[in-house]
């Protein structure tokens, strides 16, 4: 470490009885790319929002280039040279790139915005930083990778010396990610400091200089990336050793259980969201559906499970045409479904775990008879599932809104797997989950496949797709570009397909 750019000393932050940060010390050197890692709930987000002035610590000090600072707001932090790129971009989609970048810090001429100076300044900055972007492009029309570049430029325009990147690669293709890493290295070489918050071990290994690992609100480990291994970082994060690989025997697929034939979902006006997609998932195999978010995967899944009307084509479950059937009928026909958004679709946060676990089973025996609910049966079933899946919850009466992301997902997984339906659609099953919970869910998915179920795995996480799938479909702009057996897939080929490059003739 050369010169210390940022120090946090003894940061304490409480939320009621919960201690989110417990005397956290963080030391970041100038020009360093510093990873902050930890499982969900370890206190990373709290620490970052304190450093960016969004929250005030209950105790502790922050030193910037050796001087103590007190940020009362994010504006305060920005004025001191902090910049943050949030996971969900904070941009105006209908405005141009330059308008977004200068927003709130516009060059003025009298009472008016000096548009020429603003636009010129942005173009200049982009050129100087070699972050290629057209200042006049409308942000809503840009790809996610470019939007992220706009966010970075926005911070640099405000002279940020320290950049906080919160899970920046979650929405990127591998190629876009490499582009981002390139930019990060260049910024670091110029003496800017980068705080990199992520779950992804290989990215930490690839780009960072140092790692600070948090667990339960405390710093448990400070490491030099060059002197550690991914396995050691995981052990620090979880406090135990976790298998990073998924063991599975070769697939022995049987009859097709889930089929789509020329399935189409129209959009208002533009290109169809799902454009004549045909796919087939057989018993005993996991088919991965890869693609950058927003290329029609969500719509395709909604059309398969009955949450969205088809504008053409057919859907079949176990050979039975369910095209006209509603959600209840399709579930009856044999679909279990873990939705992408577990908090707003997959559960009712205000309702108890027992009620959440009963949903979908509540109409017939053993939970209901002749229209009457058997509360005792609901309670017993909930207790059994909570125990079997190891959900950490006070009681089955507690609302699931109190659970962590991983435990909430376990509730969803427990419910959907207990359907024992022949078809399982798992959409982003481990998004936002920590290593331990991810490992658990991966094991469950493989077990389902080994039990002869047809699993459709939709994920934006290439490593997950590669680790679990027997066959991989790549979706781009509403169509399936390729169907690749797992053995012949690599991050590179899939990445190119995800960016819309046609597969080379093989």
């Amino acid at each position: 470490m050369t010169v210390l750019e940022l120090e946090a000393k003894g940061i304490v932050k409480r939320y009621g009885a919960l201690l989110a940060n417990d005397r956290v010390d963080l030391f970041v050197g100038r020009g360093e790319i510093h990873a902050v890692m930890g499982e969900n709930g370890a206190g990373k987000s709290t620490l970052m929002s304190i450093l960016y002035g969004l929250q005030q610590p209950d105790e502790g000090r922050i030193l910037l280039r050796g001087e103590e600072v007190h940020f009362r707001s994010a504006l305060d932090a920005i004025a001191h040279g902090m910049g943050m790129v949030h996971q969900a971009f904070k941009l105006f989609n209908s405005l141009t790139v330059w308008e977004n970048i200068v927003y709130g810090a516009e060059p003025r001429r009298g009472a008016f915005i000096d548009r020429r100076a603003a636009r010129g300044g942005v173009a200049d900055l982009a050129a100087r930083r070699r972050l290629a972007v057209d200042p006049d492009a409308v942000v809503g029309k840009l790809s996610v990778g470019v939007r992220q570049r706009v966010e970075i430029l926005k911070a640099l325009y405000r002279e940020a010396r320290i950049l906080i990147l919160d899970e920046p690669t979650a929405v990127l293709t591998p190629q876009e990610r490499d582009g981002l890493f390139h930019v990060m290295r260049r910024l670091a070489a110029e003496g800017r400091t980068i705080l990199f918050v992520t779950h992804k071990l290989h990215e930490v290994m690839a780009i960072t200089d140092r790692v600070t690992v948090l667990r339960d609100g405390r710093v448990v480990e400070r490491m030099k990336t060059g002197e550690t291994t991914a396995r050691e970082i995981v052990r620090a994060m979880t406090g135990r050793s976790v298998s990073l690989n998924v063991d599975k025997a070769p697939a022995r697929p049987g009859a097709p259980l889930l089929e789509a034939v020329d399935l189409t979902v129209a959009s208002l006006g533009g290109k169809p969201l799902v454009d004549k997609v045909s796919l087939r998932v057989r018993a005993g195999e996991i088919v991965g559906l890869a693609g950058v978010a927003g290329n029609g995967q969500t719509e395709l899944v909604e059309a398969l499970v009955g949450l969205r009307r088809l504008d053409g084509g057919k859907a079949l479950v176990g050979g039975v045409d369910v095209t006209g059937a509603d959600v209840a009928a399709r579930r009856e026909a044999g679909i279990a479904y873990m939705p992408e958004d577990r908090a707003t679709v997959g559960s009712a946060l205000a309702a108890s775990a027992a009620d959440n676990l009963a949903m979908g089973f509540h109409r017939g025996p053993p939970l209901a008879r002749r229209g009457l609910i058997d509360s005792a049966a609901i309670t017993n079933r909930a207790r059994a599932l909570i125990a079997k899946f190891g959900v950490k919850i006070v009681s089955e009466r507690a609302p699931v809104g109190s659970l962590s992301g991983g435990n909430l997902q376990k509730v969803v997984v427990a419910r959907e797997l207990s359907h024992e339906a022949p078809v399982l659609i798992a959409e982003q099953p481990t998004r936002g989950l920590d290593v331990g919970a991810t490992e658990f869910i991966h094991r469950q998915l493989v077990a389902e496949r080994n039990d002869g179920r047809a699993v459709l795995l939709v994920s934006a996480e290439l490593s997950e797709i590669l680790a679990l799938s027997d066959r991989i479909l790549v979706m781009y702009e509403g169509r399936i570009l390729a169907d690749v057996p797992q053995e012949r897939a690599s991050e590179e080929t899939l990445g190119l397909l995800m960016a819309g490059r046609a597969p080379e003739a093989a």
Partner: protein, 344 residues
């Protein structure tokens, strides 16, 4: 400093006095201040409200007022339990009242049978009218909040036209229908009380049972907790909305019918709407966030408050509008608390 708070302290920190009780207390204080500022004695005003509502001799009055008010509370609470709002109670009640007045006047037959037909006719007509609002939302995307309210005005207007012109009572010349034959009126229990009280009580029990013990109640609660989750779990949302609105409207129709057949014996223009049962009922339902037992209690509380208000107005110089002010403060206070909790 100690890093881990004491368990006892944590429990105390988490403990919150029940919102409704606090809201009522707060309203009583503000209301008392208002009475005091106007130069009257708050203690006396409250005592008059209390005895006016709950003294033995006044209880029948209170129950008579509570019957339609609790009925309209259920009208609002049932959709609210599923996160829907029925603002069209006025129109539905008027349709029920008018149908209940017309059937006995034109349908010959034994009294009890005619009365039953009138009650059922009122419920079905008002229920279908309410379901129209749900249909507007599921088929045409008109938010139910708007469609239910806007459908109310034509119903009230047309009913008013009917009793002013085609069906005007020729004997009195007032905007009201002719009298319902005596045989078709609701049985009197004692004094001012009639069978309507028992009908609403029975409906309240049915609503409680459906809410707690049936599949339909479970599905409605889940819809209220998260409508997307309910749809994902296989609840047929469109059909559910229609049925719930039908049930809600049917109860509103029954309330109208009970007033017509039980106390006014004819449909009088505007008479059903002046006491604003719909809005008091909506407030009571909101107070309990649609949970039926709580909503019924709140409805009873408001009924007592309002009946007590009449006594207070008679005995002191304080106008009974004070009780409406108290009601509103209770709701506002609760809304503020909810807002605060959401933000923190």
């Amino acid at each position: 400093m100690n890093a881990t708070p004491q368990p006892g302290a944590a429990a105390l920190w988490r403990w919150r006095p029940p919102s409704a009780a606090l809201a009522i207390l707060f309203a009583a204080i503000v209301g008392g201040a208002l009475v005091f500022a106007s130069g009257a004695n708050p203690a006396e005003a409250y005592a008059q409200i209390f005895f006016g509502a709950l003294a033995w001799d006044n209880l029948p009055n209170t129950l008579n007022w509570a019957t339609p008010l609790v009925g309209m509370t259920l009208v609002a609470a049932i959709p609210l339990r599923g996160g829907m709002i029925n603002l069209g109670g006025d129109g539905q009640m008027v349709i029920g009242g008018l149908v209940a007045a017309i059937i006995p006047i034109y349908l010959p037959g034994p009294g009890p049978l005619v009365a039953t037909a009138a009650l059922l006719g009122a419920a079905v007509a008002a229920g279908l009218y309410a379901a129209l609002a749900a249909w507007g939302e599921t088929r045409h995307g008109i938010p139910m909040l708007i469609s239910s309210l806007l459908l109310s005005y034509p119903a009230v207007g047309v009913a008013s036209y009917i009793v002013r012109f085609p069906l005007r009572d020729t004997a009195t010349g007032l905007p009201q229908t002719a009298l319902v034959p005596e045989a078709a009126r609701l049985l009197t229990l004692s004094g001012a009380l009639n069978v309507g009280l028992l009908i609403i009580a029975a409906i309240a029990l049915v609503v409680l049972f459906v809410d707690r013990r049936t599949v339909a109640g479970f599905e409605l609660r889940m819809r209220g907790a998260n409508v997307r989750f309910a749809g994902y779990g296989g609840v047929r949302l469109d059909r559910q909305a229609m049925r719930v609105m039908f049930a809600s409207g049917a109860i509103a129709g029954l309330v109208g019918a009970i007033i017509v057949l039980g106390s006014q014996f004819r449909f009088i223009d505007d008479a059903l709407l002046t006491p604003s049962y719909t809005w008091s009922g909506l407030m009571a339902a909101l107070l309990a966030n649609g949970e039926p037992a709580g909503a019924i209690l709140a409805g009873l509380f408001f009924a007592a408050l309002q009946t007590g208000g009449f006594a207070m107005q008679r005995e002191t110089s304080v106008p009974r509008v004070l009780t409406i002010v108290l009601q509103s403060i209770v709701i506002l206070f609760l809304a503020v608390r909810h807002g605060v909790e959401k933000r923190s």
